[in-house]
């Protein structure tokens, strides 16, 4: 195993009375591209939010690059779910990407020409150069997602967390995003992606983390992406992934 960039010990989190996550333990090595999969309500988004201290942890300890989140904040990038913001907000795509540079620009300072160029470059990388001046409310879902990705790119972080970047996007966006993820991996960055489509896991990710309230299994995709683990994570009614398609096995009584 390579250098560990993220280590999670005994993490637990709750919403009101319901414990969503408990006994979460795992470690992520540098340069890996991990898909976090699990059924609805398994706590995938909560896991990311708790790691990034956007949601309070009940117990547990999280280490980024061997230090606390506060110390390593600038090395961590986050792509929230597209639905988490109001896309009616009056601003243009380039401005949203520029927000990724606010940390570098410094508080209360005006962005310079250089920052604008950087933001434009990131948009170009996502195939969105023509939409730089476009109102974000006029972008399609896939385009909005690419703007979010571009914003994460300009942050130039070493560890990225992405919450369902491939949910509900068009094929072109999915390709664009996957190319960027592979490029990030190739440059030694570490990426964790909440993912919902089991059929593409093997093609997209070299590591997979099965989550259902706790870590069901975590490891190299080739080793842990098995029918048994899928069944364990999803509650035992998904079979036959290996055949490329999966179907729901109905109880025998029916």
């Amino acid at each position: 195993m390579g250098k560990v960039v993220l280590k999670v010990n005994d993490l637990a989190a709750a919403y009101r009375k319901n414990t969503v996550l408990h006994d979460v333990n795992f470690a992520v090595e540098a340069g890996s591209l991990t898909g976090i999969v699990g059924p609805n309500g398994a706590g995938k988004s909560t896991l990311i939010k708790t790691l990034l201290e956007l949601h309070p942890a009940l117990t547990g300890e999280v280490q980024f690059f061997g230090a606390s989140f506060k110390k390593m904040k600038t090395r961590i990038g986050y792509v929230p779910q597209r639905g988490s913001v109001d896309w009616d907000f009056p601003t243009i795509a380039l401005d949203v990407v520029m927000m990724g540079l606010y940390g570098q620009i410094g508080w209360l300072r005006r962005p310079a020409k250089l920052h604008q160029e950087k933001a434009y470059e990131a948009l170009d990388k996502m195939g969105m150069a023509d939409y730089a001046e476009r109102q974000i409310s006029q972008l399609s879902g896939g385009q909005q997602q690419r703007v979010f990705l571009a914003r994460a790119l300009v942050q130039n972080a070493d560890l990225y967390f992405m919450d369902e970047p491939l949910a509900g996007v068009d094929a072109a966006t999915e390709r664009a995003i996957m190319n960027i993820l592979k490029e990030l991996k190739a440059t030694g960055k570490t990426v964790l992606v909440v993912h919902h489509d089991l059929q593409t896991v093997e093609d997209y990710f070299d590591h997979v983390l099965f989550l259902n309230r706790t870590v069901v299994e975590h490891g190299r995709t080739a080793q842990v992406f098995t029918d048994e683990n899928i069944a364990a994570a999803y509650g035992g009614n998904m079979r036959g992934m290996r055949g490329g398609k999966f179907h729901v096995v109905r109880p025998v009584e029916q």
């Binding site: 601003t91 927000m99 606010y102 209360l108």
Partner: protein, 307 residues
Amino acid sequence: MWSVLLNSNTQWVLFSTMILGIAAGTVGCLSYWKRQSLMSDALAHAALPGVVLSFLLFREKHLLILISGAAFSALIGAFFIQWIRSSTRIKEDAAMGMILSIFYGLGIMLLTVANRTAGNQSGLSGFILGQSASMVQTDVWTMLILALLVIAITVIGFKEWKIYLFDPQFAKGIGMSLKGMNSLYTIVLVTTIVIGIQAVGVILIAALLIIPAVSARYWTHSFKKMIIISAALGGVSGALGTLISALGSGWPTGPFIVMVASSLFIVSLFLGKEKGIVIQFWQLRIQRKQVRQQQLISPLIAKKEGQ
């Protein structure tokens, strides 16, 4: 009739309500995108008991003392709303409705007591609907300085407000303190409300925060321009409303300011460049015409190409 304009006190009052309108228009844009337009109304009503209590305590009608009390009680109101939302099963809108009416009721009750017991209370009722004519030079200065402060905070931190309003979670990720920003937002909002209550009144000050912002939305797709337009509309409403109310004796200022602001809103709603009703109707008509023409022409072109 226009002689009131020549009065230097009126000029100062006009100027201060204009600056107040500009501040309210600016802060209103922040509330609009924080989806808390109604919050300003709740906090304004919650300010009333504070005004009366500080008058009863200090027996003085110095604006700074009264608005300190107002700010204190509005902040208590804000705290209660926050507390109800986070630790009970009551939702935010219900919490705001409760705090608004309870505090306002308490304020009116205290006002009755104040009116019975104190002799020189005249004018305290002006805080309900606004009475800019009762403002003296020191009141004007207090209002001006605080309004300029609020405007300065919004302008200097423009970039920070933008990311805080658009994507607070991301802002936190890059090191912004959400707690700090939330507090600053509440302070700026409460300050705007309390400096406006003498001129506009607790019932209607929220209108000056809400209406210019929603009107500005019909003119632009840029956050910066939205703030500038909203500030301008707020400034015009403040000054013009005060001017009209100064024409009669004892006319409350608040309702006139709100009426001017509402007229500007109606103009924006119909003629606004971005999705104004008339403009939208007109654009749709042109588009329909174009499509129809194309539908007429295209078979001819196809025929010609076929030959």
